[in-house]
Point group: C2
């Protein structure tokens, strides 16, 4: 993530919720404090995971912390997210996820029964995905010093020979494909949030995407420029991130973006733009024009990509704008500003 406006006031500033929301403020914090301090090219590459070579080939590693509130929501819980999300960040490199680690930070007083339910669904999710959790850690803090449980998972995977997806690879003319409807996860979580509960049948799309990705790589590996899972900040953040990393713009078509009517309605009710809402089982792929049809057809043949759609194209743009054609003309799609959706994953 590059090109932020305000300067980070390291001497006097404080972390606020926007610094965890997947938008500009978060990128600024990561660049201004963490990347500066850790200072290496792996981080600067700015991918959802980092690749490295071992004697037998190329591997990737990734990590995410999970602080979702509430812990249980329609379609999943913090544990399934922690498995799916980390598998997905590995898969976005086109890599085959191999192993996970899981670190638990638990608040004193947290019921064993909840912990077991979470652990059981992590076990089930990891077995279903074929990616075992091979090592873990358990810390406990005093009552009031955490919020139930936080989980950080890390994962490693193997990159197929010859594949090299990277955040700066998008080129004008490339197709932008989304694997399915947007905003389901965020709306499902918000629908159960305290002081906000509303009635909806929406369930989180939380799912492990490595099977879909394996099919895509088999069908059009050489044509896939890069993939991202549009989690925090939604596809607006993802497209803006890719735009600034690849120094290009996007032109997308609102009508083509899959969106469930109930999600659209809930977003209107909540005052949210579905483009900013988190997904946990979707991917955005940027594909060279000559591979777009094959990749799209392969995605549609997979249960997790049956509603995949080609929603627009990469364009040359020094401003790195994401432009969207709408029924009433067009607009610029910006990052989420501020702290609209804290603790969504």
């Amino acid at each position: 993530m590059k090109a932020y406006r305000r300067k980070l006031d390291v001497a006097n500033g404080r972390v606020d919720l926007s610094h965890g929301a997947g938008g500009r403020a978060m990128g600024q914090l990561i660049e201004g404090i963490f990347h500066k301090a850790f200072d290496n090219d792996w981080l600067r590459a700015g991918n959802d995971q980092s690749a490295f070579s071992v004697p037998g080939g190329r591997m990737v590693m990734t990590t995410d912390g999970y602080v979702v509130s509430p812990l249980f929501f329609p379609g999943g819980n913090i544990g399934t997210l922690a498995v799916h999300g980390t598998i997905n960040d590995i898969a976005m490199a086109g890599a085959v996820p191999l192993y996970l680690s899981a670190s638990f930070i638990i608040e004193e007083g947290f019921p064993f029964a909840y912990l077991e339910r979470i652990a059981q669904s992590m076990g089930a999710a990891s077995r279903e995905a074929g990616v075992p959790i091979i090592t873990g850690d358990t810390k406990v803090v005093e009552r009031g010093k955490a919020d139930g449980v936080f989980i950080s998972t890390a994962g490693v995977g193997m990159v197929p020979d010859g594949l090299d997806l990277r955040s700066d690879a998008a080129r004008p003319g490339d197709a932008v494909i989304i694997s399915g409807s947007i905003g389901d996860h965020g709306v499902a979580v918000m629908s159960k949030r305290e002081n906000l509960e509303f009635d909806t049948d929406i369930v989180s799309d939380s799912a492990a995407l490595h099977g879909l990705v394996a099919d895509m790589v088999a069908a059009g590996g050489a044509h896939i420029r890069l993939m991202r899972d549009p989690t925090r900040g939604g596809i607006a953040a993802t497209l803006n991130e890719i735009a600034s990393q690849s120094r290009v713009g996007f032109r997308i078509d609102e009508d083509k973006i899959p969106l469930k009517p109930e999600v659209a309605a809930a977003c209107e009710f909540l005052g949210l733009d579905p483009l900013n809402v988190a997904n946990e089982g979707k991917l955005v792929a940027v594909v060279a024009p000559e591979g777009a049809d094959a990749v799209l057809a392969t995605m549609r043949a997979h249960p997790l990509g049956s509603e995949a759609a080609l929603v627009g194209h990469v364009v040359a743009d020094d401003n790195c704008f994401v432009q969207m054609t709408t029924s009433c003309g067009g607009r610029i799609v910006d990052w989420l500003s501020g702290e609209q959706l804290p603790r969504i994953c």
Copy 2:
């Protein structure tokens, strides 16, 4: 960790601070909930890290969460711990640490200046160790829902060909070697804890041990049965863990265990047994008798092992007791009971 007495009451029980203290209760929680749910042989092996094969050889992966309070203490801070601790769990397999990930969970309102200080010292620790932090994550929770910052690091490393250290490998007659004085880290942290502050010159021993380990492996790799870093629960927990995993006992000699007089005094003041107090830059090695002298000599030649000592031996014991000879006879060294030392790492 095996063989606990009480049964875990999953239906009605709650997590308390003892479940994070490195003792019997923690082992019971991990076995009764996590290992059951995640169900695989990697976890059941019960090592500080897990090993797996990739085309080019054998690798290990590990993770730890860090919740130390206070965040800054003599000799380090939460960030240096998060780098050293995870490197050490990799090194305990005799492996060469390669890469780290870092997941930050930050409380709203946390000053950028603290975050930068922590990140800067992590960067310095990782560069000094030659183990870069290649990927990360940043989440923010509302004020009062965390305690400043929690960090989970994961790490991967490469196991030298032919080396296979494992928790069940200790055999009667093996030598037990400790790399240096015990209890320094725990006492340094406690000395700065709110409502407890006391005057001492003790600083944490927090350090990355992979250089020491590489020398040990070069000198006596074939004779090293296993290694552990005695973190939470101290060497008492480490020896009891090895004892029950290898189905053996230990006989150690109190007089031979390196212990700084100031640490002994502080422990007496705090009502703690130094054997239960956490270390963050020490290791315990179980070494076949024929290799003990060479390994010990090599350790003493390394700055982080200059006070290494052979403190006892493995004995046959169906009860898996850790027995200690003291100036006034002898006693059984048990796990830490309860919640004496929360948030020490």
